[in-house]
C-alpha cells in the first residue's frame, strides 16, 4: 500500500475512486440512518412518515413535495377535502370517523398534515402540484400555522430552496425504507431493525399510523384555555395578514376554507377563533369534555376518534354551503 504514485495520478485516482465508492456509501448510509426506526409497520399502503431516530427524522414533506411517493400525491390530488395543519391534525384526523364521513358524503378526504409546519410550505405544495380541493380544513392550534418565523421548519425550507440536494436526501431516506422492508423480520439484524419511536402514514388517505407506539394511550387531561401565546400580542397583525393572503389564495383556486382548533396543551381556541373572525372564515370547534392526550400535546386515539366524529358532524352544513357556491 506504500506504492508511490505521481501527484497527478494521485489527484485523478482520488477523484475516480471517490466516484466509484459513492453508490456503496449511499446504501450504507441509507441503512445506518434508518437503523433506529421501527420497521414493523410497512405495507403496500404505508410508508414511514416520521422517526425519532437521531439520523432520520421526517420523510413526509419530501414524500409529497418532490414527490418520492407519487401514489400518495395522486391520492392527494384525487381528494376533495384536504386536512392541513401540524402534528395535532395528523393524529386527530387519522381514524374511522373520517373514512365514514367520506363514505357517506362521497367526498374523498386526505390528511395532509405535517409535523410543526406552517402555511408557506403548504401553499408551495398546493401550487407546485396544482392541487384544487373543494375544501381545506386548517387546524390552528393558536398562531403557529400563520406565524412565519416559527412556521417554516428547516426541512421544508431546504425542500423549497435546495431541491437537488433535498431530492438526494429523500431518495436516501426512501432507500432506507426499502432496505428495512426487504431485510427486517422478527429475527432481522438489530442494527437495521430496531423498535425506535416511529409514525407511519397511509398512502391512500394520509392517515397517521401511531397506535402501535408503546406510550400511546389515553393519559392526560386537557387544560381548557391556557395562557395566550406571546406572539399573539407582538405579531398579531403580521399573522392575520398572512392568514388573509392564504385564504385569498385558496379562494382564487375555488377552494372553501374552514378553521378548527384541536385541543391539547398549549393550544388556544380563542386565538384560533379570533383569526377565523378576522379573515371571515367559518370556525368549527367541537365542544367535548373528557378528551385526553397521550403526551400532553396530541389527542390519544379514542379521544381523536370522538373529536373527529363530532367535527365532521358539525362540518356538514359548511360542506353543503360550499357545494352550493
Amino acid at each position: 500500500m506504500n506504492i508511490l504514485v505521481s501527484p497527478r495520478q494521485y489527484v485523478w485516482a482520488v477523484i475516480g475512486l471517490a466516484i466509484v465508492l459513492l453508490p456503496f456509501f449511499t446504501v450504507f448510509e441509507a441503512a445506518r440512518r434508518i437503523g433506529d426506526c421501527d420497521a414493523s409497520q410497512y405495507s403496500d399502503d404505508n410508508f414511514l412518515n416520521y422517526c425519532w431516530g437521531r439520523l432520520y427524522g421526517g420523510y413526509e414533506k419530501g414524500a409529497y413535495f418532490l414527490p418520492t411517493e407519487p401514489a400518495a400525491l395522486a391520492a392527494v390530488k384525487a381528494a376533495s377535502l384536504l386536512i392541513i395543519g401540524d402534528s395535532r391534525a395528523g393524529y386527530a384526523f387519522s381514524n374511522d370517523a373520517l373514512d365514514q364521513f367520506s363514505k357517506e358524503t362521497g367526498l374523498a378526504h386526505y390528511n395532509l398534515a405535517f409535523a410543526g409546519e406552517g402555511n408557506r410550505f403548504i401553499e408551495r405544495l398546493i401550487d407546485r402540484h396544482g392541487l384544487k380541493p373543494k375544501m381545506v380544513i386548517i387546524n390552528l392550534d393558536g398562531i403557529e400555522f400563520f406565524d412565519q418565523p416559527r412556521g417554516t421548519m428547516q426541512d421544508a425550507s431546504e425542500l423549497m430552496t435546495r431541491e437537488l440536494p433535498s431530492w438526494v436526501q429523500y431518495r436516501v431516506k426512501q432507500l432506507g425504507q426499502k432496505i428495512q422492508r426487504r431485510f427486517c423480520h422478527p429475527a432481522g439484524p438489530s442494527f437495521l431493525c430496531s423498535k425506535g419511536d416511529t409514525v407511519y402514514r397511509k398512502v391512500s388517505n394520509g392517515h397517521w399510523l401511531f397506535q402501535h407506539r408503546p406510550h400511546v394511550a389515553e393519559r392526560y387531561d386537557i387544560i381548557a384555555e391556557p395562557s395566550l401565546p406571546p406572539q399573539w400580542a407582538t405579531r398579531r397583525e403580521a399573522i392575520l395578514e398572512e392568514a388573509r393572503l392564504f385564504v385569498e389564495h385558496m379562494k382564487r383556486l375555488g377552494t372553501c376554507v374552514v378553521f378548527t382548533n384541536i385541543p391539547g396543551e398549549d393550544t388556544s381556541p380563542s386565538v384560533a377563533k379570533a383569526q377565523a373572525d378576522a379573515v371571515g372564515v367559518p370556525f368549527v370547534l367541537p365542544e367535548l369534555s373528557g378528551l385526553r392526550t397521550f403526551d400532553h400535546s396530541h389527542l390519544a386515539p379514542v379521544s381523536g376518534q370522538r373529536f373527529a366524529a363530532e367535527f365532521v358532524r358539525l362540518l356538514r352544513p359548511y360542506i353543503a354551503q360550499c357545494s352550493s357556491r
Binding site: M1, L4, V5, P7, A13, L17, E29, P165
Partner: protein, 513 residues
C-alpha cells in the same frame, strides 16, 4: 454557498478550477485573476446578491482610503487622521449591521421602553472582511504593505477560500501570491496536497461535526426551555459541543487552506490542535490563530500589551478578550464567554509568574485537564441561546445527584446498579441524554484530537500553509505521500463526505460570526 454543499463541490469548484487553470495555462494570467474575482463575487452573491453592493462599496472605499494614507506625509497628523477615520468607518458599518439590535435592546432594557422591530440582516462574513480590510489600512499606514491595484485588492478581500470564515489574512501575505500563482506551471504537488486538505476538512465537518450536533441540539433545547437535564446528559452535551465546534472549525480551516492551494495560493494556518494545549495561553495560540494575532497586533499591543506593567497588561487582556467575545456575536453570552476567557487568561499569566518565581512545575496532564475543562465550560456559555439557558446547563453540570441511566444498561451493571440507586440515580428511558453511542463517539473524538497528529503535521513535508515553520509544525512519522494507502484513505473520506453534503447540509458555525 457553503463549502460543504453539493452545488459547491460538484458544480462551482470544478468549473472555477477549470476556468482558472485553463486561462492560466493558456497564457492569460490576468484573465485568470479576473475569473477568480468574478467567481468569488458570484460565490458571495449566491447567499444574497443585495449585499454585493455593501462589500463592493467597502472594497472601493478602503482602497481609496489606503491611497490617501500612502499619499499623506509619513508621521503627519493628516495621515493619522485618515487611517483613524478609515478604521472608524469600517467599525461603524460593522456596528450597524451586527450590533445595532443588541445596543438597542440594552437601551430599551434600561429605559423600559418597547424595542422597535429592526429589519437589519447580518451580511455574511462582515466580521471577516471588515477585519481583513482594517488590517490592510493599518499595514499601509505602517508601511508593512503597499497600496494595491484594484484587481489584486478586490481579489485579496473576496478570494472565496478565506472570505466567509477566515483565516483573516494580511494583505502582504496574500496579494503577493496572486501574480506568481498565475505564471508558474501546473503544480500537481500543491493540487494533491490541497485536495487532501479539502477532503480531510470536509470529512471532519460532515462525518464528525454534523454527527456531534445530533447529541448537542436536544440537550441545549431543554436548557433553553427550562426542562430538566441530568448531570451526565449535561456533560455529554457540553463535551459533544466542544467537539462539534472543534471539528466544524478545524474542518472549515482545512478546507479553506486546501481550496486556496488548488489555486496555488497558501493561506496562514488558523487552527492547530487547540485541545492539546496545556494552558489557556497556549490554547489561544492554537484556536483561531489569525483572529488571536489580529487582536494581539491591533488591540492588545496598542492598549499597552505587556510593556507597561502588570496592571496595564491585565487591563489589556480583559479588554481584548471582551471585544473578542463581542466579535463572535452580539449577545450577552458572547460577552460573558469573552470575559470568562479574559479572567482565566489573567489567572494563567499570574500563575506563570508565581510558578516561575517559586520554580513550581505542574505535570502537563494537570495543565491540560484544567485547560480543557475551562474551555468546555466556557463553550457552554458560548453555545447557549441566552444566559438563562447557560445557567440551566451549568447547574445541571454541577449537580451529580441528578443522573438518569438508560434502562437497557441496568442488566449489565450488576451490583453497581444498586449502588447507583443508593446515590439517587435513576434508571429511566424518559429522555436520558447520554447513550453508549455517544460514549463511543466522544471517546473517538478524544483519541483523534489528542493522540493523532493534525493534518498539517501529516503534510508538513509539502508546506501546506504559509509559515508552517513559525508554528514548529513537526513532521509526523506517518508522513503523507502520494501513495496508494493515502490515496484510498482520502478517496474514502471524500466520497463519504460528499455524499453527506447531499444528505445533511448544515452551516459552518463560524459563518455566523
Amino acid at each position: 454557498m457553503l463549502f460543504n454543499s453539493p452545488e459547491f463541490i460538484f458544480i462551482f469548484l470544478p468549473a472555477v478550477l477549470l476556468l482558472f487553470h485553463g486561462l492560466r495555462v493558456g497564457g492569460r494570467p490576468v484573465a485568470a485573476l479576473w475569473a477568480l474575482l468574478v467567481a468569488s463575487t458570484f460565490f458571495y452573491g449566491w447567499w444574497n446578491p443585495v449585499y454585493l453592493a455593501l462589500i463592493g462599496l467597502s472594497i472601493v472605499g478602503n482602497l481609496a482610503v489606503s491611497g490617501l494614507i500612502a499619499a499623506a506625509p509619513k508621521g503627519s497628523v493628516t495621515r493619522k487622521a485618515i487611517v483613524t477615520s478609515g478604521v472608524a468607518a469600517n467599525l461603524l458599518v460593522l456596528a450597524y449591521f451586527k450590533y445595532i439590535g443588541f445596543l438597542l435592546s440594552i437601551v430599551t432594557g434600561i429605559s423600559g421602553t418597547e424595542s422597535p422591530e429592526l429589519h437589519v440582516a447580518l451580511p455574511l462574513a462582515i466580521s471577516f472582511f471588515t477585519f481583513t480590510q482594517i488590517s490592510y489600512l493599518l499595514d499601509v499606514h505602517a508601511e508593512r504593505t503597499k497600496v494595491d491595484n484594484p484587481l489584486s485588492y478586490a481579489l485579496f478581500v473576496v478570494f472565496f477560500p478565506h472570505l466567509i470564515a477566515g483565516p483573516i489574512v494580511h494583505h502582504r501575505e496574500l496579494a503577493e501570491q496572486f501574480v506568481p500563482a498565475t505564471h508558474k506551471p501546473m503544480d500537481w504537488n500543491d493540487f494533491a496536497v490541497g485536495m487532501t486538505l479539502f477532503a480531510g476538512g470536509l470529512f471532519k465537518k460532515v462525518a464528525i461535526a454534523d454527527y456531534a450536533s445530533t447529541f448537542v441540539g436536544p440537550v441545549y433545547l431543554n436548557a433553553t426551555l427550562g426542562r430538566p437535564i441530568d448531570f451526565i446528559g449535561a456533560w455529554g452535551g457540553a463535551l459533544a459541543y466542544s467537539f462539534q465546534l472543534y471539528f466544524d472549525f478545524s474542518g472549515y480551516s482545512d478546507m479553506a487552506l486546501g481550496l486556496a492551494l488548488l489555486f496555488g495560493i497558501r493561506l496562514p494556518i488558523n487552527f492547530l490542535s487547540p485541545y492539546k494545549a496545556a494552558s489557556l495561553i497556549d490554547f489561544w495560540r492554537r484556536w483561531h490563530i489569525t483572529l488571536s494575532q489580529f487582536l494581539r497586533d491591533y488591540l492588545y499591543v496598542p492598549l499597552g500589551g505587556n510593556r507597561h506593567g502588570r496592571a496595564r497588561e491585565l487591563f489589556a487582556v480583559t479588554v481584548t478578550m471582551f471585544l473578542g467575545g463581542l466579535w463572535h456575536g452580539a449577545g450577552w453570552t458572547f460577552v460573558l464567554w469573552g470575559l470568562g476567557h479574559g479572567v482565566l487568561l489573567i489567572v494563567n499569566h499570574l500563575w506563570r509568574v508565581v510558578a516561575n518565581r517559586r520554580a513550581i512545575r505542574l505535570p502537563s496532564i494537570v495543565g491540560w485537564a484544567l485547560t480543557f475543562l475551562a474551555v468546555t465550560v466556557l463553550w457552554v456559555v458560548f453555545r447557549a441561546s441566552d444566559l438563562t439557558a447557560a445557567g440551566n446547563m451549568l447547574r445541571a453540570m454541577a449537580d451529580p445527584r441528578h443522573v438518569l441511566i438508560p434502562t437497557a444498561l441496568e442488566a449489565h451493571m450488576g451490583a453497581f446498579s444498586d449502588v447507583f440507586k443508593y446515590w439517587g440515580w435513576r434508571f429511566d428511558d424518559n429522555r436520558p441524554f447520554f447513550s453508549v453511542q455517544q460514549m463511543v463517539f466522544l471517546s473517538g473524538c478524544f483519541f483523534i484530537v489528542l493522540a493523532l497528529p493534525n493534518l498539517y503535521e501529516f503534510l508538513a513535508g509539502f508546506r501546506p500553509a504559509l509559515e508552517t515553520e513559525k508554528f514548529a509544525v513537526k513532521a509526523s512519522r506517518m508522513m503523507w505521500r502520494p501513495s496508494l494507502a493515502w490515496l484510498v484513505l482520502f478517496a474514502v473520506m471524500l466520497s463519504y463526505a460528499s455524499l453527506g453534503t447531499m444528505i445533511t447540509a448544515s452551516e459552518f458555525l463560524y459563518f455566523r460570526f
